[in-house]
């Protein structure tokens, strides 16, 4: 092979076919732009996390616990915190303004010391944070002001204390915006916590101590040294590096998954390259035959066009990378609202290099298969244009090229997904959907041939015949249009099903207002008050906080130290399940949201001897490694309670009902310290607010939760995530449009000639247009129907396996999507045919 000649020919050929090759280039551009944008942005995020790491934690070290710090922990804090020590005590409470009408569940944080040591809590007005500790002041999330109709300067009631709202928090390092939507944050000076009178009731309290180390003191050795002793005291120690690592992992996942959506655009572009190359090779057949006559080998010819594909891929990728860096500037406004810190934007050269490399690779690999046929064009074709080689032997390189193609798609997916499993699943999904669409296109071509509607009017017959003529565009259009529609429909179905599930769980008769932390003596008056206001009140559900003391006779600490459990812990299971606080209930009946999957439910008994039967939720049981029949001893606030696992349950957590990891048989916990939950329902949001307010005033410790608020928050989160995905999916659409335009324009010549002939033979312009429309209506309907079937499959799989919810199909909207896609196809066909209508037959026939 003669490399110099190959490169020169590739360049000369490219120069003259620029317009056609431009399509090849453009097909790659959008995908590379998407990849570079998202990967460069992810690098930005990581860099920002790195730069802002200390302010994310606000200190060098943090020690947290759900319990009051023990004397030994406090002694440790005194030692470590000599340079700087601050404490934040957080608990849930109802807050309401004296003048307003509603009440809202909030997260109250009592701050002592000069937290944060690093970074800044930005407030409105600026001085509010500094002035907080000067008196009974409070700084709140802006969303709370909106919810309560309050403003800065108003008086806020929390328990039995009253605070003056002196400002709002506009930005807090390390805090994800979503948290505040569920329970708005309220900051108060720590010394006023006792005056609320709320901690006396045994409510859940999170205590965090923030430590600033002296210059030169290393945080990590301290954390490593005290981690185990602190764990024994139910406290957890975190360093800046660790919280940075956590955030970094989370951001990496976000980036990688959005990157996968970008990869779809690139792979779709690859399909475009393949289809354009296929047509290109047909058009170049004569040139190739002449080159062969002049002494070029099949290998030379193949190399010329592979080199050309690489050049076009490089050009497209360079352009894509430039666009991607531009898009990167836009991404923060799409994604940053989900992020707990500021993002500074700078091009990431590794991301650019990877993007360009991937683009060139995709262009070449997808061009290889159609280019193989260039090897098969015989020199004799230069003498006889109708010549077809009579030996249809198998191309020996076909199988290796197919393997290379599949390996490339898999490899790129795995690299982008960051895991073999996710990457392989993604590649398989892409393969299945492309395969499904290709099968549909192939089926259409076959079906038109097999059952040709000979009795239909002429324009329809001609239009349908076009679907299977030589060098038809059926495959290219169905793939590009279908894949775009498939992506959109799948996204839509996923979003619809997630939100619908929430809407239904909050349906008209389900409870939508929950009161909890009700003390035993408050159950009766609270129930009476709810009923007096005209609303139903459910039977009170008792809740008893407890921890696990031992399983099968082994203390939790010993189990946790096991190497096996440690391994599981690293995967995110075991340790937490062993140490967490369980809020359990007792009853003798199974409720609607539960299903026993192993063992049997117990019979109610008036008196019991021996271990108490207990039912454990299946996932937690797996984390704990317990089975039916195992013995668990619980530490119920100092009192050991022996139980035996009677059965395991599946719980439908999506239902807003009091659900539990552990349910005890009656008779064992009735005298334990406990609180109650009562549910009620009213469809009137204002009435819910009034009821919350009335009970908050009367029973300061009773908190309440409006499900509609949760729903709104989740809907906001879902729509933000969907927005981000949709934004990335836009690139796939852009690519799809390019591929479509390519298909239309490559068939343009054929179409021009054909319609000129039709006109010469006496067809009216109207008839010629109808022929085109018939073809595109068939293509559009097929592409959208095939896409829809695939999207329903994908949507069902997502709902069933990932979200674990019932799949629902919104028929009306789905029909609209089909019609829209078909209409798009017709518009594109019509656009491609404008020239057909404008030019006279003679003009066209003379030209070709």
């Amino acid at each position: 092979m003669n490399a110099g000649f190959v490169i020169r020919m590739a360049r000369r050929e490219a120069r003259a076919s620029a317009r056609r090759l431009l399509l090849l280039t453009a097909a790659i551009t959008a995908g590379v732009a998407a990849l570079v944008a998202i990967n460069s942005f992810t690098d930005d995020l990581r860099l920002s996390v790195q730069q802002q790491a200390r302010s994310l934690l606000g200190a060098d070290l943090a020690i947290s616990s759900q319990k009051e710090f023990s004397p030994s922990v406090r002694a440790l804090l005194d030692t470590l915190g000599q340079t700087g020590l601050a404490q934040v005590t957080t608990f849930s409470a109802m807050a309401y303004t004296l003048g307003g009408s509603g009440a809202r569940l909030v997260q109250v944080s009592g701050v002592t010391g000069s937290y944060p040591f690093y970074g800044e809590i930005v407030t409105q007005p600026d001085s509010a944070w500094r002035m907080l500790s000067r008196g009974p002041n409070t700084i709140v999330d802006p969303s709370l002001l909106g919810a309560l109709g309050a403003q800065v300067g108003d008086s806020l009631a929390i328990g039995s204390a009253r605070f003056v709202i002196t400002g709002t928090v506009t930005r807090m390092p390390g805090d994800v915006g979503m948290r505040s939507a569920l329970g708005p944050r309220v900051f108060i000076p720590g010394r006023y916590i006792p005056s609320t009178g709320l901690l006396a009731f045994g409510a859940r309290v999170q205590r965090e101590a923030f430590i600033r180390l002296a210059v030169g003191q290393e945080a990590q050795p301290i954390a490593d040294r005290y981690r185990e002793p602190l764990r024994a005291e139910n406290a957890r120690i975190r360093t800046v590096a660790e919280s940075q690592q956590n955030l970094d992992n989370a951001l990496g996942r976000l980036g990688r998954y959005l990157g996968l959506v970008a990869l779809i655009a690139l792979l779709l572009g690859g399909l475009g390259v393949a289809s354009a190359t296929h047509v290109f090779v047909r058009q170049k057949a004569e040139t190739i035959a002449v080159l062969r006559c002049l002494g070029a080998t099949a290998g030379d010819v193949f190399a010329i066009y592979v080199a050309q594909a690489a050049m076009m891929g490089l050009l497209g990728s360079l352009l894509g990378a430039a666009i991607g860096l531009g898009v990167q500037q836009v991404l923060p406004s799409v994604i940053a609202s989900m992020l707990p810190f500021d993002v500074s934007s700078a091009p990431s050269w590794p991301a650019v290099a990877v993007g360009i490399g991937t683009g060139v690779w995709v262009a070449v690999v997808f061009a290889l298969l159609p280019l193989l046929s260039a090897r098969r064009i015989p020199p004799l074709a230069a003498l006889r244009q109708d010549y077809e080689p009579e030996t249809r032997s198998r191309e020996p390189l076909r199988a290796p090229v197919l393997v290379l193609l599949a390996a490339s798609v898999l490899g790129l997916s795995v690299l982008q997904a960051g895991s073999l499993r996710a990457g392989a699943g993604f590649a398989a999904g892409i393969g299945l959907s492309v395969g499904g669409l290709a099968l549909a296109a192939w089926g259409l071509i076959r079906a038109v041939g097999r059952w040709f509607p000979h009795r239909w009017p002429y324009v329809w017959r001609q239009g349908l015949a076009n679907l299977r003529r030589p060098a038809n565009q059926t495959m290219a259009v169905v793939l590009s249009l279908g894949f775009g529609a498939f992506l959109l429909a799948t996204l839509f179905l996923a979003q619809y099903n997630l939100l619908e599930e929430l809407r239904l769980t909050g349906g008209p008769l389900r409870p939508n207002l929950i009161f909890f932390d009700i003390q035993p003596e408050q159950v009766e008056p609270v129930t009476r008050d709810i009923r007096a206001a005209g609303y139903p009140a459910s039977a009170p559900v008792p809740i008893v906080p407890m921890r696990i003391q031992s399983i099968r006779g082994r203390p939790v600490a010993a189990i946790a130290a096991d190497t096996a459990v440690r391994a599981r812990q690293r995967r995110g299971g075991g340790g937490w399940a062993l140490r967490r606080e369980y809020r359990s209930t007792y009853r003798d009946t199974v409720v609607a949201s539960e299903k026993v999957i192993a063992g049997r439910w117990w019979r109610p008994a008036t008196s019991r001897t021996g271990a108490v039967p207990v039912s454990i939720e299946a996932d937690v049981a797996a984390d704990l490694g317990v089975h039916v029949g195992d013995e668990i001893v619980w530490d119920v606030q100092g009192v050991p309670v022996a139980t035996r696992v009677a059965n395991l349950r599946d719980v439908d957590w999506a239902r807003f009902e009091p659900n539990f990891f552990a349910v005890f048989a009656t008779g064992a916990l009735e005298r334990a310290p406990r609180s109650y939950v009562i549910l009620t329902h009213t469809s009137d949001a204002a009435a819910r607010g009034r009821l919350q307010r009335a009970l908050a005033e009367r029973y300061a410790n009773v908190t309440s939760f409006d499900i509609a608020v949760v729903q709104e928050a989740v809907e906001r989160l879902v729509s933000r995530v969907v927005l981000a995905i949709r934004f990335m999916a836009l690139f796939s659409l852009a690519t799809g449009a390019v591929v479509l335009a390519g298909a239309v324009s490559t068939s343009r010549y054929q179409r021009l000639r054909e319609s000129a002939l039709l006109k010469t033979l006496g067809a009216s312009r109207r008839q010629v247009v109808q022929v085109v429309l018939a073809e595109y209506i068939a293509l559009g309907l097929l592409a959208s129907a095939a896409a829809l079937v695939l999207a329903i499959g994908a949507g069902w799989a997502l709902a069933h396996f990932l979200f674990e919810i019932t799949f629902r199909l919104p028929l009306g909207q789905v029909a609209g999507l089909i019609a829209g896609t078909a209409l798009l196809a017709v518009c594109i066909g019509a656009w491609g045919s404008i020239e057909v209508m404008r030019r006279t037959p003679l003009e066209v026939l003379r030209e070709t």
């Binding site: 020919m9 050929e13 004569e286 002449v290 080159l291 002049l294 002494g295 099949a298």
Partner: protein
């Protein structure tokens, strides 16, 4: 220079066998000028293709300058085409994406030479010295065929094959092209094999083979 023995080519067409070239044998000496004539469908072009090594015969053999083409691989035949054979086509077959000069350069570049100088000389020789940077579409039919001639001679071929070289040209232009071919044949000693309908053109050849139904029916100088 060129020798074929019992050359037969059969195509499978629409389920039945079609023998296009039947048992043809002849020899042509170096520097010879052969015209192959016959009605449409008589197998002229197929015979030309087989002689030039563009396809493999079903049976029989072709020897070109000592190389048995029927026994060589496709790539080896490509090399021989590049070194020893030149082509002129009825429809010129210039590569539309290359300039006139680049078209002439191709065979030279395939052999690893740059060749723009020699290509320029050849264009000069066919009277197109100033048109080297024009694309085929910017040239008239006669001019295109002259570029094709320059290309065919660029690698100093032993044998030049021409398929209806004047078929797409008017009489006067055609005559100019044929004159040029004769001149090159004389000056360089190139063996010429051409397929034609045109009795005038055939008349200028030193030997004529007439085909009908794939077989030789007349040969002006029997081997």
């Amino acid at each position: 220079m060129l020798h074929c023995e019992s050359l037969t080519k059969t195509y499978a067409s629409g389920g039945r066998e079609l023998t296009v070239v039947k048992n043809i044998s002849f020899s042509l000496e170096a520097g010879g000028f052969l015209a192959i004539v016959g009605p449409s469908g008589s197998g002229k072009t197929t015979l030309l293709g087989l002689l030039a090594g563009l396809d493999r015969p079903t049976s029989g053999s072709v020897t070109l300058d000592g190389d048995a083409l029927d026994r060589l691989s496709e790539d080896a035949r490509a090399r021989i085409r590049g070194e020893k054979v030149g082509f002129v086509f009825q429809s010129f077959q210039l590569i539309p994406t290359l300039t006139a000069l680049e078209n002439v350069q191709v065979p030279l570049e395939l052999r690893g030479m740059h060749g723009s100088e020699r290509a320029g000389e050849l264009l000069e020789r066919v009277g197109l010295g100033g048109r080297g940077h024009h694309y085929p579409a910017q040239l008239s039919g006669g001019e295109q065929q002259r570029v094709a001639l320059a290309r065919a001679f660029s690698n100093r071929p032993k044998v030049l094959f021409a398929d209806e070289p004047t078929g797409n040209l008017d009489a006067r232009t055609g005559s100019t092209v044929v004159d040029l071919m004769g001149e090159l044949n004389r000056d360089l000693g190139t063996t010429l094999v051409l397929v034609t309908h045109d009795p005038d053109l055939a008349g200028r050849a030193r030997r004529t083979i007439r085909l009908a139904d794939g077989a030789i029916v007349a040969d002006s100088a029997p081997a």
